[in-house]
Assembly symmetry: C2
Homo-oligomer: 358 residues x 2
């Protein structure tokens, strides 16, 4: 996925991260930080946010336990790499971040970024990194130039895909949890990462939203071909087919991975498109119809279950919602964190006679 | 659209092109050449194809009249620019093409390319072009980094979009012909180019299939905002929502331009996906349903007519097909080249009370 330094995104016991979440240490904006804390907790030494010094990761992000929030790199001397855990406001790296990045390089730390603007394309960063012998790891950097060919697909490998009502509501987390639960039940399952955070966690994948548009489905098809020796692939979703900005990425991904089964992900209570509050979300029944229509252009596919993200409601509200949606849609539904993933795992196992008998 | 040398893609009486179509001087593979010959005939001095020396453009491509095919740059000394009119087999520039490009540069000619691999990224081409003071014009080169915002859209500007059953069947040509016909009828219409050939003809636009996936709909929205002072925009389509490789590009474009009306384009007799002969095309009624479903996620939209490409059938066969499809779909239908665009122009004018009274 990353021509520059693929090894650095591999799980490593040597990696000791300080994650920059400056001014935005909350679960949605800092979702990269939250996800790395959830799935690679032993690698995270501290969060860096001068506005929240003294707090813990768990207090701010709901994960990460007692991992401290510090105000300077010097306060976490054990760290050997700086990870940018949020996107910069306005898309450009602010001056204060530049100082931190340069200081990290000066301290001999690698810097890991999932931004669209590559650290390695910055002349100053590149120069000082070369001087210090440290790596600038741009997880989104890629040179994908292959189109999909729709050949040599192994249909005995069950392809499951998390799709969603919107961006930023948990499609990656659901895919990871489902794959982990399948593994625990003895199934040879693989999480297929399609975004920068998933890649940082899994160690491989393709940063599809940063691929040149013509080659997105080709990049996804290559992931399928490379991993279809597993029994089950759980492919991380991106965006939504109804998202005004990212629907094309979502469709390239859907048609690139041709899922047999889709898990529809949504966040309880969210009414409008994330970051575009003037645009209402499409209702779930409509979206299920749309996903099935579009997926079936390439092969038989159906939504087999619903993953609710009930983070922002009480347990009682979550239960009411769960029963309401179950009755409305007639599909298995659970919050994989709050309820555990069993109901969805059963739906996946029911798709494959081979799996059902393992 | 092109940060490097936008002026060179503008219509210019000074531009005298020789177009490379080496070994592929036929209408589909050489569609860039054919389109430039059709819409900018006065700019084309010759085609360059060592396998077809002595033929005329019209004999090989069905357009371009007596424009000669030559076997060397020296045979067309009037030309001051070399345009690459086909994509290289395998995606990489063959050695023989490199020699021609280097010879063109050496003769002081600019070189214009619509390839995904940029001439300006080639160290040798860049060096010799700089030495000779000529320009390497990569029409697909862009630095699009804006997402769609869905704000300040002028709904009084009628947005028409050509969509298709497949790639490479005439969506650009139909959009150009419709816009020209609207202009002739007194409507202030603008052709909005979204691909390299359209940009070469129109002089502006966005090469959306070469934009980073996250920013495609944003690039399209910017074209709408920049041009919505016109009464009508006819937005060039790309690919197909059912294309295994390019469906995501198509959806980003559809959601970026939010058409009020769509013109469904197809080629009479084509059965399978272009370049993927093992995959059958979806039938037109199904595709119309799919396009309308997806377009309506963003706003009211419908398919208002059908543009048939009947190039490869007789006039009689075309007439039978036209009546068959008209009766099956209940929509206006014509081949804009063979029959003229009147039937579709009436359908467009019927969409807008303002336009209908002009």
């Amino acid at each position: 996925m990353n021509d520059q330094a693929p090894d650095q995104t591999q799980p490593s016991t040597q990696r000791r991260l300080i994650i920059l979440t400056e001014g935005h240490s909350e679960p949605i904006t800092a979702k990269t930080a939250a996800s790395v804390l959830r799935y690679k907790p032993s690698e995270v030494v501290a969060l860096l946010d001068t506005t929240q010094v003294g707090s813990t990761a768990n207090q701010l992000l709901g994960v990460g336990g007692e991992t401290p929030v510090v105000g300077a790199l010097a306060a976490a001397p054990d760290a050997n790499a700086l990870m940018l855990g949020i996107a910069p406001p306005g898309g450009r790296i602010p001056g204060a971040w530049r100082s931190v990045i340069l200081e990290a390089i000066d301290r001999g730390m690698n810097v890991i970024s999932g931004l669209h603007d590559f650290l390695s394309a910055d002349a100053e960063f590149s120069r000082v990194a070369a001087e210090k012998g440290v790596q600038l790891i741009d997880v989104r950097k890629n040179n994908e130039r292959d189109v999909a060919n729709r050949e040599n697909i192994r249909e005995q490998c069950l392809r499951i895909h998390t799709v969603g009502q919107d961006c930023s509501l948990g499609k990656m987390l659901v895919a990871l949890e489902l794959s982990l639960a399948l593994q625990k039940s003895g199934v040879d399952s693989k999480f297929v990462a399609t975004g920068q955070t998933g890649i940082m966690i899994e160690g491989d994948g393709a940063p599809i939203d940063c691929v040149v548009a013509d080659f997105v489905s080709g990049a996804v098809e290559k992931l399928i071909l490379a991993n279809q020796h597993h029994e089950v692939l759980v492919v991380e979703g991106q965006g939504s087919l109804a998202h005004p900005r990212y629907s094309g990425v979502t469709l390239s991904l859907l048609h690139g991975c041709m899922p047999h089964g889709m898990i529809m992900c949504y966040e309880v209570g969210r009414q409008n498109v994330n970051g575009m509050e003037h645009i209402p979300l499409q209702p779930l029944p409509k979206l299920i119809e749309v996903y099935e229509t579009m997926a079936n252009l390439m092969g038989p596919s159906k939504v087999i279950g619903v993953a609710m993200n009930s983070t922002f409601v009480t347990a009682e509200e979550a239960e009411l919602e769960r029963e309401r949606v179950r009755s409305e849609l007639g599909l298995p539904i659970c919050d994989v964190v709050r309820h555990g993933p069993d109901e969805l795992i059963q739906a996946i196992q029911a798709m494959s006679p081979v799996l059902a008998t393992t």
